[in-house]
């Protein structure tokens, strides 16, 4: 059919369409090493989130739990921590596959930190209705993009998500208390919070809604939300929707918003720093450890015992001894351990380090001899750590904006798995990040160590870009060489434009004239072409 001439169209158009189709027919789009590594690690993570099929369900769960249990054996004492709680396989985030969204708790911990007996079982179960009693804090995910924190006393429930042409809208009703929420923005994702006297519409942001009598206070840390005061709001009829932007806090009965209170900014920041686990996750109950014992996931303290947490199966979890004061003074003023940023914890260097003296039946020390128990424990190698899992962690850290963690994780990957296929991709990613954070020497070293043929072209181009930051003449030669070696590169236009600009800086328009002509001939639509032409008096 494709080669047949259409009698209604001219022969020229038919030939042209055939020529265009031929281009698409010859198109091949294989993965390169980097995208293949990413795709494979993400697929592995995603498959672990899928419910196991058939008879493997039980086996999968059992083996997964055993594997994680074994991994944690090195760092967790079995008496203090056990896989417990929810009757479900090692699956998290599956709510996105369901029509009815449910809150999936991933941290349940007391807000007072001490003196609390056990974690209420009702707080641990996935539910569409969360009723958090006073003294407890629950962090929960709702689908893939929403995470909330409720500090008791608080009550919220979700209603079935509404699908429309505009996307998927999730609605949370807040009946009492304060809700901290974050929504990862994305096409078609919308969140609505219905609370007394207000309806808050969100597209992607970090914010809180607090019930204040018959009204609501809405505060925003990032982004903006739209709040509609409803008719039952004190003050009478509904008013026009108001936009509440970052740094503002608006009580719906007041005419104007105030500044957001610093304590709430801290609480929202802590909420953001404690995201829901992604990929395979395992529930852990830290029930028998002394009250106040810190629960650490990687470098983050996410709760204090007694607590129930849902953690990614490949990460190491450690406990840190409780502060001496917490162990001996159960009635000390309430603190919110899960909401206490590690870097803000006061710890004068001159003070003796707090070290719990464990009772005789208490498991072996959880920290290395000489280590500071109030510091996050060092990264613990677990049996579950692989090159792919580290690559995935680095990817997640980079996506979350934690460049330092991403860099560390990639370096760990390279050191521990020097011959894995993911290592070359990791070196490239590392160099990319180092190059953009001012560590050009390190970036060039990492690039020089990549010897995978399929990465030759992107590696060489990145080397030129890194050089451009520190040695213009070397970069110019590098780009010229790159264009000779890879004449059909997708980066050709950018490389030529950069080479032109560097030549212009070196010797003015005369030095760049030939390159300008070539740029106009080969890539006239390049975003920098007009600007470069104009700089030399040409027509922009």
């Amino acid at each position: 059919m494709s080669r047949r001439r259409d009698p209604e169209a001219g022969a020229a158009e038919s030939d042209e369409l055939e020529r265009l189709c031929d281009g698409l027919r010859r198109l091949e789009a294989p993965f390169d090493e980097i995208t293949r590594s990413r795709a494979e690690t993400r697929l592995g993570a995603e498959l672990e989130r899928q419910p196991a099929w058939g008879t493997r369900r039980g086996l999968g769960r059992a083996v997964a739990l055993l594997a994680v249990g074994a991994a944690m054996g090195a760092v967790l004492a079995s008496r203090a921590v056990g896989t417990a709680g929810r009757p479900r396989p090692a699956v998290s985030g599956a709510s996105s596959l369901r029509d009815e969204p449910r809150f999936e708790p991933y941290v349940v911990a007391p807000t007072t930190g001490v003196g609390t007996a056990t974690v209420p079982e009702a707080l641990v179960r996935p539910t569409s209705r969360l009723d958090v009693p006073a003294g407890w804090l629950v962090r929960a995910s709702l689908g893939d993009a929403i995470a909330i924190t409720l500090k008791g006393p608080a009550r919220a429930w979700s209603e079935p998500a509404a699908e429309s042409a505009a996307g998927r809208r999730t609605v949370i009703h807040l009946e009492r208390g304060r809700l901290l929420a974050s929504l990862e923005g994305g096409a078609g994702r919308r969140l609505q919070i219905v609370s007394p006297g207000a309806v808050t519409d969100v597209v992607g942001t970090l914010f809180s809604v607090e019930v204040v009598g018959a009204a609501s206070r809405v505060a925003v840390a990032h982004g903006r939300v739209q709040v509609s005061a409803t008719p039952e709001s004190p003050g009478g009829a509904a008013r026009a929707p108001r936009e509440v932007t970052a740094g503002q806090s608006w009580l719906t009965t007041l005419p104007e918003p105030d500044d957001i209170e610093p304590a709430l900014v801290d609480a929202l920041a802590e909420h953001e720093r404690t995201p829901a686990p992604r990929g395979a996750a395992v529930p852990l109950s830290v029930a028998e450890a002394p009250a106040g014992t810190g629960v650490w996931v990687g470098k983050r303290r996410i709760a204090s015992a007694p607590a129930w947490v849902l953690v990614e199966s490949h990460v190491a979890v450690r406990l840190s001894a409780p502060p001496r004061s917490a162990a001996s003074e159960p009635s000390s003023p309430p603190t919110e351990p899960a909401a206490e940023p590690a870097h803000q914890r006061p710890r004068p260097r001159s003070e003796p380090r707090a070290r719990a003296t464990p009772p005789a039946d208490w498991p072996p020390p959880l920290t290395e001899p000489g280590a500071d128990p109030t510091e996050p424990p060092a990264f613990a190698a677990s049996a579950a750590v692989t090159a792919q899992s580290l690559f995935r962690e680095a990817d997640a850290a980079r996506a979350a904006g934690d460049t330092a963690l991403a860099l560390r994780t990639l370096r760990t990957l390279i050191e521990r798995f020097p011959r894995e296929s993911a290592t070359a991709a990791a070196r490239y990613e590392l160099a990319l990040m180092e190059g953009t954070t001012g560590h050009e020497d390190a970036a060039l070293r990492d690039l020089a160590a990549i010897d995978t043929p399929s990465l030759e072209e992107p590696t060489e181009y990145l080397r030129c870009r890194v050089l451009a930051k520190r040695a213009a003449s070397q970069a110019e030669r590098c780009l010229a060489d790159f264009r000779r070696r890879f004449p059909t590169s997708a980066h050709d236009a950018d490389a030529l434009a950069s080479e032109t600009a560097l030549a212009m800086v070196r010797g003015g328009c005369p030095a760049a004239q030939a390159l300008l002509t070539e740029l106009a001939r080969l890539h006239p639509e390049h975003r920098s072409a007009a600007r470069l032409r104009a700089a030399c008096g040409g027509r922009p």
């Binding site: 059919m1 169209a9 369409l17 789009a29 083996v63 997708a490």
Partner: protein, 210 residues
């Protein structure tokens, strides 16, 4: 993948070292929970799936997510796998459905998003692709034209006119009747020809031809 490898190590089908097992052997192993076998299937077919997805929807940013969806759907379907079709055909069918879902979502929200920047998308294409595409402007132009088609017509056209499928093959992949597929492909073709003719009329005459 590595974590999944551990899920059922004792039940994994043993694959002989040194030999490259065929798809059937790998599928049998994957059905028993051997994550490594599934990973090998992924590595073996991922490039083809990615290419087909790219031809169907263009080199969009979500293309790797679509590839992932294809393999997740394949994994879900493993228990029911009866080997009646070749794996490549089975994956092609899933890829067509996945592409259709993606295009339908994009088509619905096209008014909000504005026209896709085909030129910018083509910039993202890999060097290997560049080797085989003589004129990137042509590719960008065709992708922009395809974006104007409804998802059903676009997929029918790409399968028949680009992939070279027979009407029967395309109908089987789409899950529609042959005459329906034929009509969609013809409609698409007529539309594209009309757009090409209109574009030619709008072009200023070349120098020296007036």
């Amino acid at each position: 993948m590595k974590i999944r490898d551990r899920l059922a190590p004792s039940r994994a089908v043993s694959l002989r070292r040194g030999s490259e097992p065929d798809d059937t052997a790998l599928i049998a192993a994957a059905r028993l929970g051997d994550g490594a076998a599934f990973a090998r299937l992924f590595r073996r077919h991922a490039d083809t799936v990615r290419t087909r997805i790219t031809r169907l929807v263009g080199p969009v940013a979500e293309r790797d997510d679509l590839v992932q969806k294809v393999f997740i759907a394949f994994h879900r379907g493993l228990p029911a796998w009866r080997g009646e079709a070749r794996l490549s055909t089975y994956l092609h069918r899933i890829a067509v459905n996945t592409a259709f879902d993606h295009l339908r979502g994009r088509y619905r929200s096209a008014e909000n998003e504005g026209p896709p920047d085909a030129e910018a998308l083509v910039e993202q294409l890999s060097p290997a692709l560049e080797d085989q595409v003589a004129a990137r402007a042509d590719l960008a132009r065709l992708l922009a034209l395809l974006d104007q088609l409804s998802p059903k017509k676009r997929i029918a056209f790409v399968l028949v006119a680009v992939e070279g499928c027979s009407l029967a093959e395309a109908a089987a992949l789409i899950g529609a009747r042959e005459d329906t597929v034929k009509q969609r492909a013809l409609d698409a073709r007529r539309y594209l020809l009309a757009r090409l003719a209109a574009a030619k009329r709008e072009m200023p005459p070349a120098e020296g031809t007036s």
